[in-house]
């Protein structure tokens, strides 16, 4: 039965996430936007709360633990952890994207561990906060061009290279580092390694100053003869040219809809705030009458809301497909592309519609407009998503469609 409403069974979770966003994220938003690099200690208690939700919720939590695809196969329509996590993420990012990114023990590294770690590793890394280190100074989207090397030496791998744009790199306990076993092989040789903070040779070089999401720390690491035990390699240690890179990229199939969900949450915040501000100016949206007989502000608002709704439903579609074990790489990229560009467009237009109230620091609209831009960049830029979508639709390889 076709139905695109949020399932009733997630109402409790959504309402919890909404309360956290409203009562804890929003009141602290401006504080940590201004005090970049200061640790938002208000989040510690929340981290504990989320741990509890994830532990008790049978995989229907609101954090990074929710993206693992369990092996259970059953019949019929499922609304499960991918959808609940997307819904929770939307609510939390309605509050503040920066805080969501710096939720203790909810890092992207945690998603990687939850998605591809073996049972022993899952147990060993449980309760630890894991950051993810992929990007290097010379390579962003082209993660197959990674130069950080991992050289086998007895029971250990020795890591050497530089990593930038590591979210929560300062605050996390673990860093999941992508490194290549053989630069000449390319994608298939790229593996991920869990490196404990404090491991000799792992050096935090600097903290970035950013356009937005300032509550979340972003760091650069240097790896210099950093020795990591072989048990810390995630996934298959062998170089499998057939499907090697797919294993590493699998994390992204699961996390792209979540970044889309972040963008959806932020866009909704902008629209709700703008609607309120416009109402003080006497602008009320009439959904019955044609846009062309209403004010330009009302017409623009409806167009933005339509884009928002498309982004939201594409995101839920991707999550729903993951819950139902349908291959969703195409839909995940469509959701990420639409949500990423729409949230930037919406946030910037909302600032314009609200005038100086939108542009000034008295409201959060200008902050959301700054925060939004990263959502069209990380976890695959707009351009990378369009490339993935086009290759799938047109049946092209990466050699044909570059």
């Amino acid at each position: 039965m076709i139905n695109l409403e949020n399932p009733k069974k997630f109402r409790g979770l959504v309402s919890q996430a909404q309360q956290v966003a409203r009562e804890i994220f929003r009141p602290n938003s401006r504080k940590y936007d201004l005090a970049e690099h200061e640790y938002p200690k208000e989040l510690d208690i929340l981290g504990a709360l989320l741990d509890g939700m994830n532990a008790s919720g049978a995989g229907e939590g609101a954090g990074a633990a929710g993206v693992r695809r369990d092996a259970v196969q059953d019949q019929g329509n499922r609304n499960s952890s991918n959808m609940s996590t997307a819904l929770g993420t939307m609510e939390l990012c309605w509050g503040d994207v920066g805080f969501l990114l710096t939720m203790p023990r909810q890092g992207l590294g945690n998603s990687a561990i939850a998605s591809v770690a073996n049972d022993e590793q899952l147990k060993r890394f449980a309760g630890r906060w894991a950051a993810m280190a992929i990007t290097e100074p010379h390579c962003g989207s082209d993660s197959a061009a990674i130069r950080t090397t991992a050289t086998k030496d007895g029971d250990h791998y020795v890591l050497n290279g530089d990593k930038i744009f590591v979210t929560s790199g300062e605050r996390a306990d673990l860093v999941v580092v992508w490194a290549t076993l053989d630069k000449n092989i390319g994608r298939a040789a790229v593996k991920s390694f869990v490196v404990e903070k404090g491991t000799p040779g792992l050096e935090l070089v600097r903290l970035e100053h950013k356009l937005g999401i300032r509550a979340s720390d972003t760091v650069q690491f240097a790896l210099r003869d950093c020795r990591v035990h072989q048990d810390n390699l995630l996934g298959d240690p062998e170089i499998n040219v057939e499907k090697g890179f797919a294993g590493v990229m699998q994390t992204f199939d699961n996390t792209r809809p979540l970044v889309a969900a972040m963008a959806v949450g932020l866009a909704r915040a902008c629209l709700e705030e703008t609607r309120k501000i416009l109402e003080t100016a006497g602008i009320v949206i009439d959904y019955n009458r044609p846009a062309s007989v209403q004010t330009a502000a009302a017409a623009q608002f409806m167009a933005m809301e339509a884009d928002y709704e498309a982004a939201r439903l594409l995101t839920l579609q991707a999550a729903w497909m993951a819950d139902n074990r349908k291959p969703n790489s195409l839909q995940a990229s469509m959701a990420k592309a639409k949500a990423g560009r729409s949230c930037v467009d919406i946030a910037l237009k909302c600032v314009e519609l609200c005038g100086s109230q939108g542009y000034g620091e008295g409201e959060l609209l200008e902050k959301w407009a700054r925060d939004s831009k990263i959502l069209d960049i990380f976890e695959g830029t707009q351009q990378i998503q369009l490339l993935i979508i086009a290759r799938r639709l047109l049946g092209k390889t990466s050699a044909e469609l570059k």
């Binding site: 139905n3 409403e5 069974k9 609304n79 959904y287 339509a306 579609q317 490339l387 092209k396």
Partner: protein, 439 residues
Amino acid sequence: MSATQNLMGFGLKILNRLGGSAMLDDPKTRKAATAVIRGATSTGFRLIGTVSRQFKSAPRPNKALRPGAAGGDLFDLTPSDEQQMIRDTVAGFAAEQLRPGAQAADTACATPKDLLAAAAELGIGSMQVPEQLGGAAGSERSVVTNALIAEALAHGDLGMAVACLAPVGVAVALAEWGTAQQQATYLPAFTDEKAPVSAIAVLEPRPLFDPFKLSTAAKRTDAGGYVLSGEKSLVPMAASAELFLVAASTPHGPALFIVESGSKGISITAEPAMGLRAASTARVRFDNVQLGASALLGGGEGDFSYENFIARSRLAWCALSVGTAQAALDYLVPYCNERVAFGEPISHRQAVAFNISNIAIEAEGMRLLTWRAAALAAAGKPFVQQAALARRLCADKGAVIGADAVQLLGGHGFVKEHPVERWYRDLRAVGIMEGGLLL
């Protein structure tokens, strides 16, 4: 091979396809399937008469029959088995009958009568009519199913889809809001192979038209009836219609009136437009047309909602735009892969490939917004806001998709050798049309 043979051949193909389907073992599905394949079992195809018929009243039930709410608790994008079967059948009809004839129908400003008859025999009209009146409607409101049908038909051709679906919209309105008497009088005819050509008339010829501020007015007469005056624009199939459902202002707000085309004071002039040409659009003037008291849809009581009517009509256009946008994407993928420039397929260029990606993204968004609003309407929940957003997205992105489709074919897109110039013209209609159709 004659057109009739082709149509019979198509009908047999459906029969063959369905015969082997395990889904037909389910009695519930079988009932709906029987309505859909009626065309396949018929011995021939009769042309619809253009003269007005005498609508004979069936035994009148005590109260109006209403479709019930449809809905599930979980988020779900999978059509039911029954919906999927209907969708596949209609998609087959659209591919085999509509697409090949689309250009000729566009040029002729008319959909061939035998095609309209074949479409009627698919049983889409019958699916809107309650069982008690001889139809095959299920117990649940069929807004989503109708959206899937419109989408599938428009994948073949949007203009011809409008021609096929115009009468269905009238049947939907009668089933949803008609009085017991109105249902008994008119609905049984829609189960017939010779279902009356009919259309909903809302749009009026002026800029910034607002369906909530109608110039067409129905004034009460001393005898208890109405006098209808005004002009309607781009009414599909108007010249051959036997029945109109006309939106007019009344002292109690906008309402719909059932008007038989034989009534005195009606004049019809062809109004060919940029697109929708296969739907034979026309201006319809009503000069002091005398209507009985029973002409008011719903009789001024009950649950008629003009807002919901307008929103469901807009959703029909959304569903059509989704089908046509998908048709454009399906056409562009092989074209851009086969078209070679500078020594390789043009699809190897990001400027081309990204355009394809964007068409796919926006078309999927259009579909999801349309489905969401349709599902809410089917469930009897508020859906006006969702329908408005669907219309906004479909009007904006649909027009862009039409333009991009022509652009990607370059000069070849501009000439009628390819269907994209027609899609460019048809997709522009979505932001303009009010009425005409109903889900």
